[in-house]
């Protein structure tokens, strides 16, 4: 907000959102909606692969989770993961989702899974391990929601449900966590993040 003076050399860690943070977060979420849409119209090719063991379909579920991690890595404000995932869910609901309005609840829960990880690191660390953990968090929350809260798969055995949770968590780590982390660094190199706290993401230590 306005003028904030931080000790030199310290990471920018203002917790309040500026207008540019809000709008960019919203547009990341909206672009995710576009990516979902493009994905929706092309990923049915993979469905054949998952027929053999249906819970393995969760291996690509990380696709639905990346807005949370990407948004938080780019915006770096409390609530960014939650906001991006919920707005992305809203966009997919508006574009016509097969999950109706429950997609909003799913978005909220998945976003929360990533948000708790960033919060645990007090919104100060945005390195690779944190990104992977956040992806895992989103996958875990999302899959537990699918299997034990909304119970989308009442016919699955407990083993299959657990497999689903495992697969979705792995997918969250790889697609939502790793790809978002690499994506943020590549975006920072283009200069597009110049207005944001993540503008130096490309030169920050990966593990530090």
């Amino acid at each position: 907000m306005g003028i904030t003076h931080q000790p030199a050399g310290h990471k920018t860690a203002t917790t309040s959102w500026r207008v540019v943070d809000i709008v960019i977060a919203a547009v990341i979420a909206v672009s995710s909606g576009v990516i979902f849409w493009a994905w929706n119209s092309s990923h049915h090719l993979l469905d054949v692969l998952f027929l053999a063991f249906p819970p393995s379909a969760a291996l690509v579920s990380g696709m639905w989770l990346f807005p949370a991690v990407l948004g938080a890595l780019i915006i770096r404000k409390p609530g960014a993961a939650l906001f991006c995932e919920v707005v992305a869910a809203m966009v997919s609901a508006l574009m016509g989702s097969e999950f109706g309005l429950t997609v909003l609840a799913s978005g909220l829960i998945q976003g929360l899974g990533a948000e708790v990880v960033f919060a645990a690191f007090r919104y100060r660390t945005f390195n690779l391990p944190v990104a992977l953990l956040a992806g895992a968090g989103a996958g875990l929350f999302g899959s537990v929601n699918d299997t034990f809260i909304f119970r989308w798969f009442p016919e699955y055995t407990t083993g299959m449900l657990l497999a689903y949770i495992g697969f979705m968590t792995i997918s969250g780590i790889i697609i939502a966590g790793l790809l978002s982390f690499l994506g943020t660094r590549a975006l920072a190199k283009t200069g597009a993040l110049g207005a944001l706290a993540s503008r130096k993401a490309a030169t920050e230590p990966i593990l530090g």
Binding site: V34, E155, A186
Partner: protein
């Protein structure tokens, strides 16, 4: 924003006293003064501006010029109060508006930028004009008056509920100006307001600006590359010196008269009025020029099955020939260019490569693989960033030749040695050598333009197609581009340029290919006049549900969905589906129209049912035995329940979707649900870009194919291509979002309080709707329990 809150209430009171009557009437013009002022952006090492001393009197009209990188835009943003100070930025000296720091002057100042798409914040014209005034907490009754006056002042005669997405670029800029006028600012800042517009759009916007200033008397500060249209209407021209300070300051007459100052400006790339880089006429290509590409009775369209954007086109393109494609907005110029470039399938008619270009293989360019296309026809897109596919300038240049293959084969077209010599020669020809290792996205506008042309030339195409290559370029880049293309013509490359720039066409010695304007009957309903993707259907919007509060609808649907989430049975699901179908007329929907919108949901439900039937617990008679899967009576009924439940969960949302305008939803969320309005309206503004980003996704796919990025090939290659396209989309999305945020901040957005032009109401109808949702949920649960089908999913 902390600074915003304190300032806007104070300045607003001041403003209300003086301009309460109307916007048109003269406002208090604001004076500007800079004292040894400087600024460095957080992500830069060098200051954008330093040691600036400047006085602009109230009511003056000032043109701000200078080479790119002189900090012109930075000065405008600082005056608009949208430069955020944080621990990594650096500022010095003072920048004052009427003697008070500019950072606190929001509301006194209006800012317009060049990209029309990000100057619009709201989905409807009236709402968009009101946006700034609402942020300044102007009372709604007064805003209503200001909207009419402001639209009148800019000459935009469209209904207040007209979708902003259906406006042309020039109309969008006039709309942005109306929004600025409705705030009643004493200083109007225009940052290249016409750079993205065609010549008619330029005059349209300029005249609107001048007329508006004549009536308000506000101070004007404008940054432009092309000075021709503006110079004579300005009181004063200030030329900034790169690195700091002012190079020249005087009247347009003094500075632009022949003499050393004019020469200096020309050398710096400024488009001084009356100046065009001069070229000798090119020798005409011989009569024997070999035919390369031929379009016969061609109709072009972006969407299969849609009405063609242009038809009956015939073109014979010979080696070494240049053609310039002209025509009004919407006449299908770009679509024509994309079709010739093998990026869009033909609507009807043919586009055929002949002779050397066909090389004895498939003659239809659209059917070539990307790697076959790149060495034969090169397309340069209007936005250079759409075509960047690597991380350094040198790799970018090497990409095309490395991926190019001989037509009909998989053999590389160039050896490693040839590739590196091509890269070296292009780097030096285009003076990009010192940037070889730089990230392409970080170059300046002119450098990006040169690079994007060079990357396409690198693979040595015989036909080069360019879309508006000179838009927004300074005179130096323009001249270099013309030189480069003239060299290519000399080598026998054929060139097609979609351009409004008659001087550029002349420099290339181009033949003219004029596309007919769409006839007036068609123009009345251009393809993009449909409301944006997310806007409620017109019929839905006026229905019973369309006039209800969105929150009531959401609450009702949620209440009806609870039993579906809780229980897996066909009775409760069936009741909700039946009730939804009965409620369709309330949403202005018939069953066919509902199916037109809802069929994917039905399909998804069927898939779900099928899946469950396959893997579900087997019981009862075996109906189908397919190896490891069997379908039994038990698993089939489980499948039916699963499918019905999925369908019942999904379809009530269609009622909400079809009847709810996102703007109304946002108003309700902010006013009634009391969610923070900054987040709600920020999300809404972002969502407005959805349609644009979908278009951008398609454009990116074509732009990348033109670079040789294939959409066919191994799974790994496809995955890489898709990830690259996602990345390209994110870059464009974030850039647009940054500009949109500047627009919103400059319109005073972000303060704690604001007024609302359209109050969100909650009445009897809404209470009824919530009650109906509750009743439906209760009946569904009760019936299911009574019939003994209730099947709690958590048990």
């Amino acid at each position: 924003m902390g600074t915003g809150i304190t300032m806007s209430s104070a300045s607003m009171l001041h403003r209300e006293n003086d301009t309460a009557a109307t916007v048109q009437h003269r406002c208090d013009a604001v004076s500007v003064s800079a004292r040894n002022w400087g600024w460095r952006h957080a992500d830069r090492k060098q200051a954008a501006l330093s040691g600036l001393d400047l006085e602009i009197r109230a009511g003056e009209r000032v043109l701000l010029a200078g080479p790119s990188g002189a900090g012109k835009s930075t000065l405008l943003y600082a005056l608009a109060g949208v430069l955020d100070e944080d621990d990594e930025t650096y500022s010095s000296g003072e920048l004052l508006l009427d003697g008070a720091p500019a950072a606190q002057g929001r509301g006194l100042v209006g800012l317009m930028q060049q990209d029309p798409e990000t100057q619009v914040v709201q989905a409807r014209v009236g709402d968009d004009v009101a946006f700034g005034a609402e942020n300044l907490s102007v009372p709604p009754a007064q805003i209503r008056r200001r909207i009419i006056e402001a639209l009148d002042a800019v000459g935009l005669e469209v209904p207040l509920d007209h979708p902003t997405s259906a406006l042309s670029g020039g109309q969008k800029q006039r709309l942005a100006l109306a929004g600025i006028l409705a705030m009643g600012p004493g200083l109007v800042l225009l940052d290249e307001p016409t750079a993205n517009l065609d010549p008619d759009g330029v005059l349209e916007v300029r005249d609107a600006v001048l007329a508006a200033l004549d009536s308000t008397g506000a101070t004007l500060l404008i940054v432009e590359h092309r000075l021709e249209a503006w110079a004579e209407h300005m009181d004063r021209v200030i030329v900034l010196e790169p690195g700091g300070g002012i190079a020249h300051d005087g009247t347009p007459g003094e500075l632009f008269a022949p003499g050393p100052v004019r020469d200096q400006l020309v050398a710096a790339g400024v488009w001084v009025p009356g100046y065009t880089p001069a070229f000798d006429p090119l020798p005409a290509p011989g009569e024997s020029a070999a035919l390369l590409l031929e379009a016969t009775d061609l109709a072009v369209t972006r969407k299969r099955g849609a009405r063609p954007a242009a038809s009956g086109l015939d073109l014979r393109l010979g080696a070494g020939e240049a053609w310039c494609v002209r025509g009004a907005n919407g006449s299908g110029k770009s679509t024509f260019a994309l079709t010739l470039g093998g990026l869009l399938p033909v609507g009807s008619g043919t586009v055929l490569a002949t002779g050397e270009l066909a090389a004895g293989t498939e003659a239809r360019p659209y059917h070539w693989r990307a790697t076959e296309l790149v060495g034969r026809i090169g397309s340069v897109f209007q936005e250079p960033e759409h075509q960047f596919v690597t991380h350094t300038v040198a790799e970018e240049l090497a990409y095309g030749p490395r991926h190019a293959v001989r037509p009909g084969t998989r053999e590389p077209l160039f050896t490693e040695q040839e590739i590196s010599s091509r890269v070296e020669s292009l780097l030096s020809r285009l003076r990009l050598g010192h940037l070889a290792e730089a990230n392409p996205f970080t170059l300046s506008g002119g450098e990006k333009r040169r690079l994007s042309v060079a990357t396409v030339l690198a693979a040595g195409p015989q036909v080069l197609i360019l879309d508006e290559p000179t838009f927004g370029q300074d005179a130096n880049t323009w001249r270099e581009l013309a030189l480069l293309l003239r060299e290519e013509l000399g080598r026998g490359t054929a060139i097609i340029a979609v351009t409004h720039d008659a001087d550029f066409a002349r420099a290339l010695g181009a033949h003219e290919f004029v596309l007919q304007s769409p006839d007036t009957a068609d123009a009345a309903a251009p393809a993009d006049a449909r409301p944006g993707l997310l806007e409620a259907d017109v019929r839905g919007g006026t229905s019973f549900l369309g006039r209800a509060n969105p929150l009531a609808k959401l609450a009702a649907v949620s209440l009806a969905t609870i039993p579906l989430v809780a229980s897996m049975d066909w009775v409760s699901s069936g009741i909700v589906v039946a009730a939804t179908v009965l409620a369709l007329p309330l949403a202005g929907l018939s069953i066919p129209r509902f199916l037109a919108r809802g069929w994917p949901l039905l399909l998804a439900a069927l898939f779900g049912a099928w899946g469950t039937a396959l893997v579900g617990n087997d019981s009862g008679a075996v109906l189908l035995d397919a190896g490891i899967f069997t379908i039994t009576e038990g698993s089939l009924s489980a499948g039916a329940a699963t499918g019905m439940r999925a369908f019942a969960v999904a379809i009530p949302a269609v009622l909400v979707l079809f009847t709810t305008d996102p703007t109304d939803l946002a108003n309700a969320l902010a006013q009634k649900a009391r969610l923070p309005h900054r987040f709600v309206l920020g999300a809404l503004a972002g969502m407005r870009l959805l349609g644009l980003l979908i278009e951008e996704w398609t454009t990116l796919g074509m732009a990348r194919r033109a670079r040789g990025v294939g959409s066919r090939g191994s799974a790994a290659a496809r995955l890489r291509a898709n990830l690259g396209q996602v990345f390209g989309l994110l870059v464009q999305a974030i850039r647009r979002a940054s500009r949109l945020a500047v627009t919103m901040e400059a319109k005073g957005f972000g303060t704690a309080e604001r007024t609302w032009l359209r109050p969100s109401r909650y009445g009897l109808r809404d209470a009824g709707i919530v009650a109906a949702g509750l009743l439906l949920g209760t009946v569904a649960t009760g019936a299911s329990l009574a019939l003994g089908t209730w099947n709690l999913v958590w048990s």
